[in-house]
């Protein structure tokens, strides 16, 4: 038993789970804010990809990873702004406009990857440093899981709490929820639904952009085409499974991330399943969870419905 536990390396699995959950949680938090204000955001995949690409390019150009992180956040917010303009200003169906962003992101980042990044044989900017928190990092079990991480992961944990407070304790959050449930009621209370939706969609983009930075600046230190690999969609599943709450989305993301981390470790445990199958685990789990959760979970009442003042 003891030997099995050592081999199973549960602490390592937990640490890998938290790490893998980072982009999921960030994108899911973005989804929560956007959808709570009434705008469906299936563009999170494209937003993360854009963030990953722009962040990498900025870091490459300036040799400053932190500048890269900032650009990733900003570019995520900006491309989400495009989604907002299409959905709020031109009343484009929000699924369609989200899909537009996703396709656009794959296309543009793919093209510039080939013409710009692939051609340059410069040294990459590297990855964000691992910060060991003094004292805490040396705690048994907790230390390796929580206190020996890189920036984006630390930021993710802090943001879960921040977004929770923002959504449920702040004026901004109350107004956001009002816009997502009953925009006309919000408008008659003197709230600008348009302003709140723009703000939240762009905030959603900023969170997604930071999630994108995870891939290129924290995990790999390079940009690869389509490197987000559908994580933006899994994050949406986590948001639904988490009932549109920050902590719910966090826990659901951990579940998906654990299946991801487990999948890549099964062989390590001596279980002989081809990795092609084990790496489908999070995706299969997504289908099962969404099939089970959709219809039961109650979405914000006005989500996906354009609102136009008469």
């Amino acid at each position: 038993m003891n030997e099995f536990l050592q081999r199973a390396d549960l602490v390592g699995l937990a640490a890998a789970t938290l790490l893998a959950s980072t982009p999921l949680v960030l994108a899911a938090l973005g989804g929560v804010m956007s959808e709570r204000s009434g705008v469906v955001n299936i563009a999170l995949e494209g937003i993360m990809l854009t963030g990953a690409f722009m962040g990498y390019v900025a870091a490459l150009a300036t040799h400053n990873l932190w500048f890269g992180v900032g650009v990733a956040i900003l570019s995520g917010a900006l491309i989400a702004g495009l989604h907002a303009v299409l959905a709020i200003e031109f009343l484009v169906d929000q699924i369609v406009s989200g899909t537009v962003i996703n396709i656009l992101a794959v296309g543009i980042t793919g093209v510039y990857y080939r013409t710009f990044i692939q051609q340059q044989n410069v040294a990459g900017p590297g990855t964000l440093p691992v910060w060991k928190i003094p004292f805490l990092a040396n705690l048994p079990v907790l230390g390796p899981i929580f206190f020996q991480n890189q920036f984006v992961t630390y930021a993710m944990v802090v943001l879960v709490v921040c977004v929770h407070l923002l959504l449920f304790r702040s004026v901004w959050g109350l107004r956001t929820r009002a816009c997502g449930e009953h925009p006309l009621a919000a408008e008659t209370a003197g709230i600008s639904v348009r302003f709140m939706r723009y703000g939240n969609v762009m905030l959603s983009g900023a969170l997604g952009g930071l999630g994108g930075a995870y891939f290129s600046l924290q995990q790999v230190g390079n940009f690869l085409p389509n490197m987000t690999g559908g994580k933006g969609f899994i994050a949406l599943a986590a948001m639904i499974f988490g009932k549109w709450t920050p902590f719910g989305a966090f826990l659901a993301s951990l579940l998906f991330a654990a299946s991801d981390a487990l999948g890549s470790r099964l062989q390590f445990y001596g279980i002989n399943i081809p990795y092609q199958i084990t790496s489908t685990l999070p995706y299969v789990l997504t289908i099962i969870v969404v099939a089970g959760a959709v219809g039961r979970a109650i979405a914000p009442a006005a989500v996906g419905r354009p609102y136009k003042k008469s």
Binding site: S170, V171, A178, T188, I191
Partner: protein
């Protein structure tokens, strides 16, 4: 100095002049009733005052100052509050959150809910609007939700309060409470504009009455100087019968029977919990109740649009598991939601009229539609039911609400059904059409039709029904007949208090 003075307000939607040069003067400390039929332009006028719609022309003078109100915020800031017919509340939020929404007391962006709760309690006590600030709005009765709406307006410092059809969804007892509150507000020197189409309420509560018809003010008067028949004539433009003329019923066999019916709502909560009903040939059974007590689910289960447990017998046959198509052979259905379920707005009047039989003779031969007989049939019905249309090919959506409803009623009665389920048959319909539709239903009753009338308008249930069943929280609280049909008693039953 008057609280509000409107001069020559004009507001058009496409070709329709919803407000056509409206003048109105409202004094402080007065309850001013704005009376008119649906579509007379009352709500449009008040939306202009509240900044939800901008006028094409005209002037608004508030408390002696000419003002421009572009958004609700402008109105709120000046002390104009509005309680909409469809409440502007957010069901998952608490009472306190709903009240302070948009004008939150906050520290560094974070909500101060304790202060909000205290404010709400204070206002509640002052005006007799008792409600728990921590309750979630979705758990409150309609009457309590309305109090939250009034609190919301008062919290924002309203001195002029607009109430848009405030009694439409209330029980008689709740209406009494509302009138007390309105009197309190008046005593504090506030001005109240009371939008309604109910004459009795106007006579009871108003100090001044302004009557509107087709976008224009047709009279300004007081309860002392007028009477309900006068006001009805002003509203409609011709004398109207305020009472339905009907003789005693001659009930025959039971045609519709519902036993131990249990139905769930969209969220899978029980909505109808063991209902038994019998409707006989030649009688009208009215179902009275505050909206949302399972009426919709009951009707949909009988028609077969919603799965249900229990037994439904239609014209002597067990139809509990039959498809809607089979049930509609002997049964007609006037749905509560005209625009969603009653007519297809984008199709012509003729096509809407033949919907039940569009695929069989005389309206179709195999795959070919018989356009001549469809047109002839439609032309005949349009005449018979006095549907105000230019031609049968006209788009149904271009008709007024009353005429759309006549299309539905005509279609459902034209198939010679044995049973009619009429849900809110006169909702959003002008007084003239109401009179017409009621007369048709009574006529058919006298020919042996069994009618199940479901309506949240208590007046409609009382004037049409031979027997009255009161529904409360998915159960039939009582079935009353003859002398036992008493307005006050029914009101108590509707509120679950008897």
């Amino acid at each position: 100095m008057p609280a509000l003075e409107l001069r020559g307000i004009v507001k058009t939607f496409g070709g329709l002049r919803a407000n056509d040069g409206v003048d109105l003067v409202v004094q402080w400390g007065e309850v001013h009733a704005l009376l008119g039929e649906n579509g007379a332009g009352k709500s449009t006028l008040m939306n202009v005052v509240y900044g939800l719609q901008s006028p094409d022309a005209g002037e608004i003078v508030y408390d002696g100052q000419p003002v421009v109100i572009r958004r609700p915020e402008d109105a709120i800031r000046r002390g104009i509050g509005m309680v909409h017919q469809h409440f502007m509340l957010i069901p998952p939020l608490t009472v306190a959150e709903n009240v302070v929404l948009g004008h939150e007391s906050a520290r560094g962006g974070m909500m101060d809910l304790t202060a909000a709760g205290q404010m709400v309690s204070e206002l509640s006590h002052r005006y007799g609007l008792e409600v728990d600030p921590r309750a979630r709005v979705r758990d409150l009765s309609v009457g309590l939700q309305q109090r939250v709406e009034i609190l919301k307006a008062l919290y924002r410092g309203a001195r002029l309060l607009i109430l848009d059809e405030p009694t439409a969804v209330l029980t008689p007892q709740e209406i009494d409470r509302l009138f007390e509150i309105v009197s309190n507000l008046k005593a504090e020197g506030k001005a109240v504009i009371f939008i309604t189409h109910k004459l009795a309420e106007v006579m009871r509560i108003a100090d001044q009455i302004t009557v509107m018809r087709r976008g224009k003010v047709v009279a300004t008067t007081t309860p002392a100087e007028s009477s309900p028949p006068d006001l009805a004539r002003l509203m409609v433009g011709r004398p109207v019968l305020l009472r339905v003329e009907k003789g005693p019923a001659h009930p025959g066999d039971v045609l519709l029977e519902v036993e131990a019916l249990k139905v769930e709502d969209d969220l899978h909560h029980p909505a109808v919990e063991g209902v038994d009903l019998q409707v006989r040939a030649g009688e009208i059974l009215g179902v009275a109740g505050v909206e949302g007590n399972g009426q919709r689910e009951l009707v949909e289960a009988i028609v077969g649009l919603r799965p249900a447990k229990g037994r439904v017998t239609i014209a002597g046959r067990d139809m509990s598991h039959a498809t809607t198509h089979r049930r509609l052979k002997d049964l007609s259905h006037i749905p509560a939601d005209r625009q969603q379920m009653g007519v297809i707005l984008d199709m012509s009047i003729a096509d809407n009229l033949v919907l039940p039989d569009f695929d069989r003779p005389p309206f179709a031969h195999w795959l070919i539609r018989a356009l001549d007989s469809i047109r002839a049939f439609a032309a005949r019905i349009i005449k018979e039911y006095d549907i105000r249309a230019e031609r049968p090919e006209q788009r149904t959506g271009s008709l007024s609400g009353g005429n759309q409803q006549k299309v539905v009623v005509a279609r459902e009665l034209a198939t010679d059904p044995k049973i009619l389920i009429a849900a809110q048959p006169t909702r959003g319909v002008d007084v003239g059409s109401i009179e017409f539709i009621h007369r048709r239903i009574v006529e058919q009753r006298d020919r042996g039709l069994a009618v199940l009338l479901v309506s949240s308008e208590l007046d409609e249930v009382l004037s049409l029904s031979d027997r009255v069943a009161v529904i409360y929280r998915g159960q039939i609280a009582a079935v009353l007949e003859g002398e036992a049909i008493d307005r006050e008693h029914i009101g108590l039953l509707m509120a679950g208090a008897a």
